[in-house]
């Protein structure tokens, strides 16, 4: 009987000690980690829009964040709510019901920085919509404008990978043709599924139109050597290919399906599914959103 107390105390002491150390380290590192995450996100979006090291994003480039919320009214009616930036610098919440009809427009008095942080934003939005509403965050969208003209859209997407979820960002141009994709978070197997982050896989999506994407498949065929070379920008440079030659080879494979990664067909399919899903839903939602904005005559910032 005495021993059981000793064991309990000993194990509890070990756990408490470990918890104190973990807590201390967590509080010291958490805000730095968050800052870095924000920075990486910004860089990923800029890279998808064609800016990165060596090509500074111009000051005329504006990336607007639009947040989509799913809300349920007190009498259990489901609706969507978009947080939109407006011309004078503030934000509004636009409610759209499931038939696409706009409902209320609620002005939002919150700063950009407050909205960027997920927990804070959820609270602000819930307060604005109403206490007895159920508010769930669904997705963020990024709309990029350059010199007053639409440059493109960046949509985050999540898909079931081989083991866990693959988080990615899909970039579209104003005609909804794929500009490129970026894998932001994945836990695929190194050397096999993790190859989805390599340019020779990612760049295969570049230039696929909305129509093409619908019927795109993953094929289990070896990647042709010339296609591989142009997909890897550095390899193409090494091989001494001119821009015209690169374009010629790319045109040859314009209608090609996605070539599966060796030993990672499931991961390859997962990425394609994620992209197809994200783009299909986005194309539909964008139409609804734009119609609703027009009906309510909201002067959006983008």
């Amino acid at each position: 009987m005495k021993e059981i107390f000793k064991i309990t105390i000993s194990l509890t002491a070990v756990c408490i000690g470990a918890a104190i150390i973990l807590g201390a380290v967590f509080t010291q590192t958490e805000h730095i980690r968050k800052e870095q995450e924000e920075k990486t996100k910004k860089q990923t979006i800029e890279a998808l829009l064609g800016y990165g090291p060596g090509k500074q994003a111009p000051p005329s480039l504006h990336v607007f964040s639009v947040y989509r919320y799913v809300i349920a009214t007190p009498n259990k009616e489901r609706m969507l709510a978009y947080v939109l930036p407006v011309k004078d610098g503030g934000h509004v919440i636009l409610e759209i019901d499931l038939t696409g009809e706009p409902r209320r427009v609620i002005p939002l008095k919150a700063k950009e920085a407050e909205l960027a942080e997920e927990g804070l934003r959820d609270r602000v939005v819930k307060e604005a919509i109403g206490k007895d509403y159920q508010v769930t965050f669904a997705q963020a969208l990024y709309i990029a404008d350059e010199e007053g003209k639409r440059l493109g859209y960046v949509i985050p997407s999540v898909t079931q990978g081989f083991k866990t979820f693959i988080h990615m960002m899909v970039s579209l141009n104003p005609q909804l043709t794929l500009n490129g994709i970026a894998i932001t978070e994945s836990e695929e197997d190194p050397g096999l599924g993790a190859e989805i982050e390599q340019p020779y896989f990612k760049n295969q999506f570049e230039g696929k139109t909305l129509e093409q994407l619908k019927n795109l498949k993953v094929v289990k065929e070896p990647l042709p050597q010339d296609y591989f070379t142009v997909l890897e920008p550095e390899k193409a440079k090494l091989a001494g290919l001119s821009a015209a030659q690169v374009k010629e080879i790319r045109d040859k494979f314009k209608d090609a399906d996605i070539f599966a990664l060796t030993g990672a067909t499931i991961s390859s399919r997962a990425v394609l599914n994620g992209v197809q899903d994200a783009v299909r839903k986005f194309a539909y939602r964008l139409g609804v959103l734009q119609a609703a904005i027009q009906k309510k005559n909201i002067q959006t910032a983008f």
Partner: protein, 206 residues
Amino acid sequence: MNRNLQLLWNGFIPENPIFRLALSLCPAVAVTTSVKNGLMLGLAVVFVQVFSSCTVAIFRSFIHPRIRIPAYVIVIALWVSVIDMVLPVISPEVYKQVALFVKLIVVFAIIISRLELFASKEPLVPSFFDGLGMGIGFLFGLCLIGAIREFFGAGQLFGLDVLGFKPLLVMILPAGGFFVIGFIMATFNYIEYKLTGKIPASGGGH
């Protein structure tokens, strides 16, 4: 030879965790598709092994023998979590590469086996060298397997094209990992047989 140096050397070759003790073979097969992966995981293991060995060696008298295994698991998980939180702050680039592997280390047999067999009985300094030696031995094993698999499977070394073609794709697939480990283990046993004249017992001598 100095005992500490001997402990260091012991983990490196005579009791190499992968080829002699045959421990933690699962990660050794799973992530060694390239030298870089092996190196990253190996480095993470060195840190966790050394920190865990030292912690257990310091607190060994406080840990009740009946609950030593859960206590060790907590110690390992603690250090893994600390590395997982501190590394992205110190160096986000390196963390991006190792993030996947760091979380796997909690369940590595080699670490808990060293805590149980060595650190729980010995004082701090020998435990440190034993942990360091075992970690380096594991790192060496992963790099060796990774180099062989990457060279034959992808025709590359450290991600750079060496051959320009892929001689044996099977090497980069899981089956190749078993082949490579089997062959290296056989080589180790052969060398031991030549040196001592004794036929090594099954399980790599243990």
